[in-house]
Symmetry: C2
Subunit: 163 residues, 2 copies
């Protein structure tokens, strides 16, 4: 974890729930990104990326978690935990629904744009958790094409051909 | 339709498919936003908002359409048709997946931010179709709370109380 970052017990429990979801994804042959939504100290929902498992390109970890939470009239007081820095789609969803606090496992294997959140007043806690990083690095190495597909990039072989 | 805008036969057919989806949503008591994805002159998928029907906050019309299209390794050559200007979440999804052309039914009842697309090189065709506008206006008037929820806003009664 990054120096200077301390998590509450609730944060730790919810973040571990998100990480467990990411591992569930990998075990099922999917993209290992997991998420959890917490409100008032209680876990509302968890979810993991299901692109491969459900043939669903919009089911990123954060999106699956928000879907599993169902309809909420407000996201006031919620924290979203995600093992990986959010992509542009998930960023849009988090901002649209007014989630004001985000705990991010790591932004090393995929940077995203955490400043967009800070500029919009969302509190960002970045952990740079070694377990999240190795989970994702292993996946990216083993399945580079699925990873490229998940973030809207050309497959590595094709990208090389285009250079 | 806005003066100066002309649609090809394919565009017209796909846009009408998106509008039919929006109507399907309204008939089922849902948010009347529909979408269609086209590639190389062929309709790939359609979808409509299913927040109410599936208790699914991420199932905006565009998202449902992208989900229904399933996994694609590339969105090159695709056009997305949507009856309403995209919200921040759908905007993020469209940009993430590299969809380069967008046909928008109307941006009057919900403006979104179509300039974000233009700045990123996405061609935007805005129709300001009267049928889309009246469908949405009717829904917003009849179900203001559901509409507020769908775009992450406080319900109108509460918003008034907060002034």
């Amino acid at each position: 974890m990054l120096p200077g970052v301390t998590l509450t017990t609730v944060d730790t429990e919810c973040f571990e729930a998100a990480l467990a979801e990411a591992r569930k994804g990998l075990d099922a042959g999917g993209v290992p990104v997991g998420a959890a939504l917490q409100r008032d100290g209680r876990l509302v929902a968890v979810g993991h990326n299901e692109r491969v498992q459900r043939n669903d390109p919009i089911a990123h970890g954060e999106m699956a978690c928000l879907r599993n939470a169902g309809r909420l009239t407000s996201y006031e007081g919620t924290t979203l935990y995600t093992t990986l820095s959010p992509c542009e789609m998930c960023t849009g969803a988090i901002l649209l629904f007014g989630i004001r606090r985000l705990v991010v496992g790591e932004a090393t294997t995929f940077a995203g744009d955490l400043n967009v959140f800070r500029e919009r007043g969302v509190e960002v806690v970045l952990l740079e958790d070694a377990r999240c990083k190795s989970l994702m690095a292993e996946f990216q190495e083993r399945y580079p094409d699925v990873w490229a597909e998940d973030i809207g990039q050309a497959p590595p072989a094709e990208a090389e051909r285009l250079i």
